[in-house]
Amino acid sequence: MTVEASETAGTAGVRFLGARKAYWWLLVRGAVLLMFTLGIYRFWLTTDVRRFLWANTEIDGESLEYNGTAVELLIGFLAAAAILIPVYAGFFLAALDIGTLGEVSGMVGVALLGLAGQYAIYRARRYRLTRTVFRGLRFHQTGSAGVYAVQAILWWALTAVSIGLAYPFQVASLERYKMRHTFYGDLPGRFAGAGWRLFLRGLPLWLLLIAPLALAIGAFFAMVDWVALANALSVESDDVMARIEQSNPELIGAFGFAILMVITSIALALLLFPAYRAIMLRWWLSGLRFGGIELVSRLRTRRVYGAYLRFLGLALLFSVVLAFGSIPVLFVVGVLTGGQDTSIAAEAGAALVLLGGYVTAVLGYSTLYRATVGYALWQLSMESLQLSDLTALDHVTAQGQPSSALGEGLADALRVSGY
């Protein structure tokens, strides 16, 4: 019946067709409206961003389509709020209780919110997938968000206990769960990335960050006379600090060294962050599979650094603009509050101007980041992809139903939402 119009090639790349200017405009307009609607506009901005990125991503000559709407997101959010309010109210009342209930309610609350966050992340992914259409078929996701949430929380605990060493295995395991339950039509997805590969890639970075901290701790143990310190602390006196100093003349030096090492570690983390992003993206993309279709990413670390440098440059420029812009703002505030007896209205006006300035600055930096790093990472990721065995794409059958946006709403209300 069907006519094979195109002879699908054995391998094909992914193209990104986006015009940077259009994306900038979308983000800047979005940021301004976010400020004036105190965030309500976010549903429309999120939808705009997705529509832009999806439509401009072309796989084998055919672009993706995002068919979710902002109103769906808004309704999902309101539904999530309706669910969360009684929960929050319950915890509030439980916290008032003086007995054990009150004491454990805080811990239970944190654990429950953590679980709910992971649950929401999985459901939100389902929403995004079922709103992604390619060649007339939608993606979908099966699996249980609850099971995923429990796994994710356990993994996070393990990662925390192992000071991050378990993280690669966590990502691999969770990604396997996600992809095993991901489908394009009836074409099943899976994840072939191995945790230990990521572990080996990431280990040098991890060692570089941990080494200064380990040095600091080691120095502390070597230089501090613990017996003398314990004696100094056991004596009850107002001048504990002087006593400590007397017992341990090298303690100040050890403290200084520790602070220096922590700063070194933070500086290294900032410097290495783009490399980490590149490693993660390359590994993740190269592990994605749909039926017989394999993805390989040749993302260049150098180009990821380029994106971050671009952000730094523009952020610097923006800072200069802000510095000049703050002069008239401060002048207005001075005029409003300078008088002898300032009225409440004038004070409110001044506060509003200051707050507006602050929000403009913060939203500005965030918009710059999204327009440079966010945009570049999407573009570079897509352009780095090679897909093999695309013939499978011609014989996929429709499957799956659209899901509600409740997961997105929950993720939004719990502040764990992504793209």
Binding site: L34, T37, W44, Y66, Y358
Partner: protein, 373 residues
């Protein structure tokens, strides 16, 4: 249907996906009077779509992607040829390659979201205190007393910086001082007609202040007793605190806080930099609610003093003494109104005939000594 420009093509090439399989099919689209028809190379009709059921879908700029509205089958038609896309645009109402429809919709969205924001901000200013006023009396006193117990533990541990524990309360060994305080409280409480018993005690804090907790617990600070020149000044401040108890201001404050957290924090403020907006809005609004509650408690306190034949103006004298200098900082952040304004408002309430002293001289001396033990 729009008028048809004859110079535009009435048929053209397109790519069709039937929504059942991912197979890509090159088709010929013919624009009829009421809809478009897709035929394959062999001339077979693949689909017939009415113009008024067509939706323009998310696609890159150079592609016109069409689908059928509300159709669970996601059949897609993609037109790459610009003149032909224009020809479809002319015929189908919802297709608009100029983006004018999209811009109009966007304008509506912007208008409505800004209106919604203004409405929510208005609710936070007028609505929340009103709702809290209505809701607070509906909360049973047992719940309030329970809250009071929890708050009491927190407040005590915060105020008791020297960790004196039971020694934080004055009057443990000063029976006459405690009796004097009791006498004062009884007289005020009798006239106030509260639904719950008051518990008042003097605590070792240097500030000239007093606080009321939910559930009727009142703490008078040692500093206040020391600064007072006569029993009416102490009684005036206690009457003000009884005002907070009577108005259930603690419960109202908690309800207001919950309402504000819902509006700012859940509905509003979820954007980068929004944290500062939420914090500022909550602080300013809560201060404003609190100023109103203080004014009302002043009025209540002065009226109560008049009712028991005390001096209603003693509260003003005490306030003048405590907050003599003008407070520094911004007015919108103050949780009390300016002392000057409070004093003026209280002094408008004149005593009801000759006043009866709260305590005689020995009792007053005992109260002054309550923290000596």
């Amino acid at each position: 249907m729009t008028t048809t420009d004859l110079s535009t093509p009435t048929s053209g090439p397109a790519v069709f996906f039937d929504g059942r399989t991912s197979a890509r099919q090159d088709v010929r689209v013919t624009l009829g009077p009421s809809g478009l028809q897709m035929t394959d190379d062999a001339g077979r009709i693949l689909a017939d779509w009415h113009y008024d059921e067509i939706d323009e879908l998310n696609a890159p700029a150079n592609v016109l992607r069409l689908g059928r509205r509300h159709d669970p089958v996601l059949a897609r038609l993609e037109v790459f040829d610009a003149p032909f896309a224009h020809a479809i645009d002319l015929r189908a109402e919802s297709v608009d390659r100029t983006g004018a429809i999209h811009r109009r919709q966007r304008l509506h969205v912007v208008g409505w979201t800004i209106l919604a924001t203004l409405a929510l901000v208005a609710v936070s200013y007028w609505g929340i205190p009103t709702i809290a006023d209505r809701l607070a009396p509906a909360i049973p006193l047992t719940v309030e007393r329970r809250m009071g117990e929890a708050v009491n533990m927190q407040v005590r541990s915060q105020l008791d910086t020297r960790n004196a524990g039971a020694g934080f309360d004055c009057g443990v060994n000063e029976q006459p001082g405690r009796a004097a305080l009791e006498k004062m409280i009884k007289r005020l409480e009798g006239a106030a007609g509260l639904g719950l018993p008051l518990r008042a005690s003097v605590v070792r804090r240097p500030e000239a202040n007093a606080i009321a907790l939910p559930g009727g617990q009142i703490y008078v600070f040692q500093g206040l007793i020391e600064k007072a020149d006569n029993p009416d000044e102490v009684a005036g401040v206690i009457a003000h605190e009884i005002g907070h108890v009577a108005h259930r201001d603690n419960t109202k404050g908690m309800l207001q806080g919950a309402g504000l957290s819902f509006l700012f924090g859940m509905l509003l403020g979820d954007f980068v930099g929004g944290g500062a907006v939420v914090y500022a809005a909550k602080t300013v609004l809560q201060s404003s609610y609190s100023r109103e509650a203080e004014t009302a408690a002043d009025r209540y306190g002065a009226e109560l003093m008049r009712k028991v034949h005390g001096d209603p103006r003693a509260l003003a004298t005490m306030l003048d003494k405590i907050g003599g200098a003008t407070e520094p900082g911004m007015k919108i952040l103050l949780d009390h109104p300016e002392t000057k304004a409070r004093v003026v408002a209280i002094n408008r309430i004149a005593p009801d005939g000759p006043t009866i002293p709260f305590l005689d001289a020995p009792e007053w001396a005992a109260l002054k000594r309550i923290c000596a033990g």
